[in-house]
């Protein structure tokens, strides 16, 4: 039985480094079974099934993008109708002022524009990108996360987090390294 270590003051979490995505999946599976909730895995490639294994619900992003698209459609169409019927009506080739087929291309482009901008912007926002400081970058060897190593980090905020238990739990897998992540 290893001697109990004292949890460091400014701990963010405990991180384990793997060289293979299978080991990471096994560990993530076991961590979810063990009841850990506040954890995340880091990898240089998207690993399929990892997000569900970590216990995540479906993303809201598609619905947000749909709303963005509908907004674009309504705004684009409304702009044209207002301009062409109310504010600056002009007789063009004998067409009625409400010549709605002519309004389709611009409304269509506005739909796509708003939807695409929502997709990109909300992906960044929901992911919490654009934060200047992230504790996880303090993990040792973390540069390899964007090259060829896989990591699993159990965060100190997790209700079941107990420092030595977590160290023991991580040690049970085929890890290359288990380390503390300071805040």
């Amino acid at each position: 039985m290893a001697t109990k270590k004292k949890q460091p003051e400014d701990l963010y979490g405990v991180i384990a480094q793997f060289d293979d995505s299978h080991e990471l999946m096994k560990a993530a599976d076991a961590a979810r079974e063990a009841g850990y909730v506040n954890m995340d895995a880091y990898s240089p490639v998207p690993v399929h099934g990892l997000d569900e294994t970590l216990g995540r619900k479906r993303s809201k992003l598609p619905y947000i993008v749909l709303c963005g698209g509908i907004t674009g459609l309504c705004l684009g169409f409304a702009l044209q109708v207002w301009v062409s019927c109310i504010e600056y009506p002009v007789n063009v080739g004998g067409r009625p002022f409400f010549s709605w087929p002519s309004f389709i291309p611009v409304a269509y482009e506005c739909t796509i524009l708003f939807a695409a901008l929502s997709a990109a912007f909300f992906m960044c926002y929901l992911n919490g990108l654009l934060r200047p400081y992230q504790s996880i970058f303090n993990a040792p060897n973390f540069e390899r996360a964007s090259i060829d190593r896989f990591f699993l980090c159990i965060e100190v905020e997790d209700p079941k987090f107990e420092y030595n238990e977590v160290l023991e739990f991580m040690g049970a897998f085929n890890t290359e390294n288990v380390a503390d992540v300071p805040k």
Binding site: Y88, A116, L130, Q134, D148
Partner: protein
């Protein structure tokens, strides 16, 4: 004649040539691609310097041409009545068409789960952005009063005036602006994980800071990847109808008019097919030399050359069908003006352009039926130049040849491009190439994380499956 770059690699388990030469690991892929941007100046290939120098000189020609145009007015171009639209619109459509291949590769092939697109999508999409930037200059420059270009956008103004939304020219404004914006967004989103890899590999602190800022703090979290993949699929799903609509709208610039040669419903699909055709030719034009100079034959394999040639062949055949139909319509309509337009194309004063068009766009690319030619980089590159020229000639035939002889013979006149027309056109080629060289220098030209995904998938296939 075998190309030494195309080493004999064993076919993969699907019986196809591999998309990535076996033997790579996640790290080796990352290193090979990102090392290109980290090369110290002394170690950069001299071809880059030569190419950049030429491109930069052509860029100066662009500045000269634009300056002269803006100070002297559009009279310096060869425009007249009836050919009131000349090189400006030809070049605009040519550049926009070229841009479409990038979006097709990034977006449409993503939706069809064609993994071979992964190694070409980064620079194809970058090429799209640069092509759209070149295209976008022309609508502004060809205005009689270019400083009033912003009147094309709907904004509240003191004159109480608004754009006329029933015109394809206004539709163009929205289509091209949306296309440019969405392409930038899609391309940049695709760059985020790679910028993070660059940040993590950079040795110089300033460089690390810059890449770090640009990567928005990407850390490879599984949760982030999940949303990222969803966003990529959504953006791809949005870009697909976008690219189809943009070139259709551009074609409507012509199709909604009444002159023979323009007033035809075949234009939207014909233009889109032509855009794919020209665009793939431009992607290959850049890809083949870059692959050779930077030794990227591992990622841009024989399979890519083969598949992209096939796409060009298919789109070329669709374009050929379009030409055939135009001839059919002209004859079948019985309309004397339509028949006159056809006759003019065949034997009129500009018939050289029409026959050169048939040669470049229909005859020469039939060589692509041969596997040996499809996978021979040099021959393929030469065929791509024919296609690029052919596509320019197509727009020349559509614009100039249709305009110069319309309904009334008293209205007929000739047209030729003046030196300033050519200066601006060649200058935009310089602008495009300058951007390409800068892109190669500072950003990973192949999508690193997608290459890693390919390696990872291969690894999974070999070691995964049963033992999990």
């Amino acid at each position: 004649m075998a190309d030494p770059e195309l080493k004999e690699v064993p076919r993969d388990c699907d019986g196809q040539h591999p998309m990535i030469t076996p033997g790579h690991s996640l790290a080796s892929v990352t290193e090979k691609i990102s090392d290109v941007t980290f090369l110290p100046v002394k170690k950069m290939p001299k071809e880059w310097f030569i190419g950049f120098a030429i491109a930069f000189m052509l860029l100066q020609l662009l500045f000269l041409g634009i300056t002269w145009l803006l100070t002297q007015g559009t009279g310096v171009w060869g425009l007249n009545v009836p050919v009131a639209w000349g090189f400006a619109i030809i070049n605009f459509v040519w550049w926009i068409g070229i841009g479409h291949a990038g979006t097709l590769i990034s977006a449409i092939l993503l939706l069809f789960k064609q993994d071979w697109r992964m190694s070409i999508s980064r620079f194809a999409e970058a090429m799209t952005l640069m092509a759209v930037a070149c295209a976008g200059m022309f609508p502004l420059l060809h205005l009689g009063r270019p400083w009033l270009f912003y009147w094309l956008f709907p904004y509240p103004n003191s004159m109480g005036m608004w754009p006329q939304f029933r015109s394809p020219l206004v539709w163009d404004v929205f289509a091209v602006s949306t296309y440019a914006t969405v392409s930038v967004v899609f391309w940049y989103t695709g760059l985020l994980p790679d910028l993070a890899a660059m940040r993590d590999r950079a040795k110089n602190k300033a460089v690390q800071f810059i890449y770090g800022a640009l990567s928005f703090g990407w850390n490879g979290s599984a949760r982030h990847w999940h949303r990222y993949e969803i966003a990529s699929l959504l953006l791809a799903g949005l870009s697909t109808p976008l690219v189809l609509s943009v070139h259709s709208i551009v074609s409507l610039d012509f199709a909604v008019s009444v002159i023979p040669g323009w007033h035809t419903t075949i234009f939207p699909p014909y233009f889109v097919a032509g855009a794919i055709y020209a665009g793939f030719a431009m992607v290959l034009t850049i890809m083949i030399p870059v692959r050779k100079i930077y030794g990227m034959g591992d990622f841009l394999t024989e399979r890519h050359l083969n598949t992209m040639s096939k796409v060009m062949l298919v789109s070329g055949l669709i374009v050929a069908y379009g030409y055939l139909m135009e001839v059919f319509f002209g004859w079948y309509s019985g309309n004397p003006y339509e028949k006159g337009m056809l006759n003019n194309r065949f034997v009129g004063p500009y018939n050289w352009s029409y026959w050169a068009l048939i040669l470049c766009n229909i005859a020469v690319p039939q060589l692509l039926w041969s596997y040996k030619i499809r996978t021979n980089p040099i021959l393929l590159w030469i065929i791509c130049q024919f296609i690029s020229v052919g596509m320019w000639l197509e727009r020349f035939v559509i614009v100039v040849v249709s305009l110069h002889r319309d309904f009334m013979p008293s209205n007929w006149d000739g047209y030729f491009g003046t030196r300033w027309d050519w200066a601006v056109y060649i200058g935009t080629i310089g602008f495009f190439l300058t951007l390409v060289f800068i892109f190669i220098r500072v950003l990973p030209m192949i999508s690193i994380f997608e290459m890693r995904e390919l390696v990872h998938k291969e690894h999974e296939k070999k070691h995964g499956g049963g033992d999990h």
